[in-house]
Amino acid sequence: MSSKVASMRDAVADLVRDGDTVAIEGFTHLISFAAGHEIIRQRKRDLTLARMTPDLIYDQMVAGGVARKLVFSWLGNPGVGGLNAIRRVTEGPDASLEMEEYSHFGMVARYTAGAMNLPFFPLRSYFETDLPKANPLIRPIESPYGDGTVYAVPPLRPDVTVIHAQRADARGNTQVWGLLGCQKEAAFAADRVIVVVEELVDEEVIRADPNRTIVPGIVVDAVVVEPFGAHPSYVQGHYDRDNRFYRDWDPISRDPALTQAWLDEWVHGVASRAEYAAKLGEERVTSLRPSAPAPSGVVDYGTYR
């Protein structure tokens, strides 16, 4: 029952090891850029980075030199363009980054198979596409009920999964609202789990609304309290997606020198997320706050003695 609260530095130092498969999940929402930056700062090496949408965070991590391989389903800067640091090491004859590619449902199904300890997960995707040729781990499987063949994907069991959430208690019981992505599945599938939160709350807050819990403390190894840790991604009810940053990254990432300068300044040049937020400035941070609250309302669980 002891507290799992740790600093990001300690959590990453203790739980992320060179050569690990790391999944920092969160579908547009709740992406732990703070954890990604700490992994770059600690110069981890040879990581296999799994994520449905590598997004800017893996573009930065690839540029930061931590990655050996990508496992993914959609590679882009949504609404803006490509991921330029990743393109530099995946296009042309000198492509050096290993790639393992699925569709969105395939990635979700892989995490689900991992979370359920299943040897495979079946889905109706892939038939008559070139994806099984590109990735021989996508394999056909015949229904035992005589109604044809579907494809299967293998379980994905990250060594470490990192998720960002609105709140957790000190034991790691974690609650999220808004987009849920595949964080629950990625956390249950993993060997080790780091939860990064906007707010550390008393156990009573969690227990008042148990249906809101997406990950129980029993699968969590460290709880890191880092408000604003998802920027430039967003946290429902806390801050908005910083679309300006997503657009600004495009020209930066097109130029290797600019990219390294950015990493030097914003990742290696700051010691923590608090420093990063301070450097970003109060005005920028404030501009991302929701314009008004939108309360959920209260439901009654009732007391039964």
């Binding site: 579908f27 569709s103 889905l123 596409t129 994806l131």
Partner: protein, 275 residues
């Protein structure tokens, strides 16, 4: 419903057109939105589909249920999001679910009437490539990949495609088949859909900056409507095969004032999609 009064007539097919009162991208978005009239549940993709669907909900199809692959059903976005995962699609939505449920219980279950896709390459049968240009292992251009496109193509009841037309994108042979369309033709595709228990019936419309295509009984794209200002020569110059053209080829009605106002003032004031 919006008024159907055009703001300006662009000259059609006769020498140099006058400066049109709307851009080709605007025409494409408006034409795509209108195709959604009468549809009930639509899966919204990133980019052009995003603005087209949001325009449809404000015009021809106010009851349209917007589904975002990020896990949202019945979204009522107060602004046009840059990304398809945005806090504005969550606040005030009917349901927010995990992506396992969104892809499994909604899409693969057959609850989506229209899936909207973009494409880097498309062939005459509506097969789509969004993965690579060139060889897979050492591509000339690495594209985003499937995302949800492969499963949308297979499981949505109908597939709408929206994309700009060019000789590089409308090709005889796509470099990689990310999302199946009518495969090698309608007969083959129908058999495979039946045998595999697919709930989708494949591509039904392609809207480009030049015109509107539907699929004929052989499963091949057919130009049914040419946008104002576009010519058949332009169409031919931007396709890798000789296009089938409807005998009663129509001209797409121009955007209305209200449609243009919605795009320019509400949905895309910065002109990200329309410039």
């Amino acid at each position: 419903m919006s008024e159907q009064k055009p703001v300006a007539a662009a000259e059609v097919g006769t020498g140099a057109p006058a400066a049109p009162a709307f851009s080709r991208n605007e025409m494409m978005i408006v034409a795509a939105a209108r195709e959604l009239a009468g549809q009930r549940v639509c899966f919204v993709g990133v980019g052009l589909p995003n603005i087209a669907v949001n325009l449809a909900k404000r015009t021809v199809s106010p009851d349209l249920e917007l589904v975002y692959e990020a896990g949202v059903f019945g979204a009522e976005p107060a602004r046009l999001p840059l990304s398809i995962g945005d806090p504005t699609i969550v606040t005030g939505a009917t349901a927010v679910t995990s992506m396992l449920e969104l892809f499994g219980y909604y899409l693969q279950r057959g609850l989506i009437d229209v899936g909207f896709l973009g494409a880097a390459q498309i062939d005459r049968f509506g097969n789509i490539n969004t993965t690579v240009i060139g060889d897979y292992a050492h591509p000339k251009t690495r594209l985003p990949g499937s995302g949800g496109a492969c499963e949308i193509a297979i499981n949505a009841r109908q597939v709408f495609v929206i994309m700009r037309q060019s000789a590089r994108s409308f090709v005889e042979r796509i470099d990689f088949r990310t999302s199946p369309g009518n495969l090698g033709g309608a007969e083959n595709a129908a058999r495979i859909r039946r045998e595999q228990g697919w709930l989708g019936s494949g591509p039904s419309v392609v809207v480009t900056d030049l015109g509107i295509y539907h699929f004929d009984e052989t499963g091949e794209m057919r130009l049914d409507s040419l946008h104002p200002g576009a010519t058949l020569d332009e169409v031919r110059a931007t396709m890798g095969w000789e296009p089938r053209v409807a005998s009663d080829l129509a001209t797409t009605p121009e955007p209305t004032a209200e449609e243009l106002r919605l795009i320019r003032e509400e949905l895309d004031p910065e002109g990200m999609y329309t410039k």
